[in-house]
Symmetry: C2
């Protein structure tokens, strides 16, 4: 449709989005009233995330559909990281009124495709004018009677393991930042992170003591486990998934390939701590949890302080 958001208008745009929306079994009332109504069997898990143009994405590096996929994936990963099941989404989009309706259509295509991958349904949102594109996503999940997995429960002796991708998105971003479009596998990994949906519940079944998703960087996020748990996490560099395309980008950019894996965020892998011998099959062990023994909580690499790049903060 060759029209702008301003020309079509708020209510027509919302109608366009909400028609034919899928509804999960927990949805008592979907979009269209003042609020959505959901049935919750015991506890609810909820998180909110914002992605801003120019800060979290550039419209020349990510398609509208990519932006929709990423916004949903990043938010859903937070629910997985509690060991819960993501179920529903609310999305608030701000966009300049000159934005094409076709842009919104493709963005929502990405949102809904990612919702389908995660078995979530969209139940609400907001749509309004703004000076740049900003996407605020709220994701709801349910524990279905299982305890949540916090960041604070890591125990000395636990194995540290991950499931998903590590470092690919950061390497893809490095490629795009230098004006290249390949290796495609890395660029795709940045544009469409693949959250290992279901891995949160799987971690819970295997008795995970702490769990987080890698959004700011592996070391930065493991630090969010080490600090509240009061432990040291020692990573084994030999187990880090350094792949050929990451090596190529490291070589081209003069960086250490391990840097991308240790400091790269936005892949939204899940990383957690498991009692020794309890690591699920699809997870890869990359280190172990140690007692402080007089030291401060920290992340080590092969027993030494890691002096590489730190993770990402948003200010």
């Amino acid at each position: 449709m060759n029209m702008t958001l301003g020309e079509l208008g708020e209510f027509a745009l919302i109608d366009r989005i909400v028609k034919d929306l899928m509804k999960g079994p927990e949805v008592i009332l979907g979009p269209g009233d003042d609020a959505a109504v959901l049935s919750v069997d015991s506890s609810l898990v909820v998180s909110t995330d914002v992605m801003n143009e120019g800060i979290h994405f550039r419209t020349d590096w990510s398609s509208p559909s990519d932006i929709g996929h990423r916004a949903v994936a990043a938010a859903a990963a937070d629910i997985e990281a509690m060991g819960a099941v993501p179920t529903n989404l609310l999305i608030a989009l701000s966009a300049p009124k000159e934005t094409q309706v076709a842009w919104l259509d493709r963005f929502m295509e990405g949102v809904l495709e990612e919702c389908e991958s995660a078995h979530m349904s969209l139940v609400g949102g907001d749509l309004c004018g703004g000076s740049a594109i900003s996407v605020a996503v709220t994701v709801l999940g349910q524990t279905r009677g299982k305890p949540v997995i916090q960041r604070s429960g890591a125990q000395p002796g636990d194995a540290v393991a991950y499931r998903g991708r590590l470092g690919l998105a950061a390497a893809g971003l490095a490629v795009l930042s230098r004006g290249f479009r390949s290796p495609r596998a890395l660029v795709n990994a940045y544009q469409r992170p693949q959250v290992p949906y279901g891995a949160g519940v799987e971690a819970g079944r295997h008795g995970a003591t702490a769990l987080i998703d890698v959004s700011d960087g592996l070391v930065a996020d493991l630090n969010h486990i080490a600090q509240p748990s009061g432990v040291i996490i020692d990573l084994d560099s030999g187990t880090l998934p350094v792949s050929e395309p990451i090596e190529a980008v490291a070589h081209a950019t003069g960086r250490d390939a391990k840097d991308f894996i240790l400091s790269g965020g936005e892949d939204h892998a899940l990383v957690g701590c498991f009692p020794f011998g309890e690591v699920p099959k699809l997870w890869t062990v990359i280190g172990r949890v140690e007692a402080l023994e007089g030291r401060d909580p920290a992340i080590l690499l092969d027993g030494e302080e890691w002096l590489g790049r730190q993770g990402w903060t948003h200010f």
Copy 2:
């Protein structure tokens, strides 16, 4: 504190916000992990709203604290409008990194004061850079076993009644738009809308058949009841709350005082339909619901089509 958000950094800012946060009895896990965890007794009600600088507010017309109050009030009103109890809030703030930490402190003061008025607790959020200030609020509420009040249930013969303020915010905005700061009562009404907290549950107790909060304009929002209910709503102009300060602004701006009441939004009054004789004491009757009898759903004023200004849409 004489520092900017960029200087203090994301994690220190979040620590600053979440320390000493109140927790409602339903909060199992508050901010600090990947997501918050809440206990829900039966159904959950959820809604999300965005307020953008330059579109929904101007920093020279609203203090940081006003902006916090308004963002929370507007979102909580959506839960009231379902006949439910607002319980929890998540807030995502985007702001330029040059923003002063003192601005954030005062904004959060407003957010938390309004949460207290509504008996809500803050359970999560996000904080990140952006080209302008943007506030995305998600509010959660609980039905506590009562049915929700939708927009679609209005019945011919029902009385239409409101509780809260009508037209004051719009008149206050007209005052500010012309560079004035008084009448103060109107300017204050615009800066700090007073949601009639508890009125949603009260409406439910009295058998309300339809309910909405006035955010886009009285006529525009009543139309959101008339259309899905398939009814005509006829307002009685003699019952509209035209007050002396609104008369004064109408006179000064060459508008009809009733215009502010009929087309003004953002007061977040609750307006709904009640079986005849069931209107709660604190509510004011302003009209009645009629059967279509061959007509299209519409809002009338004294039996005639109202040709004044329409409500507000965001594109």
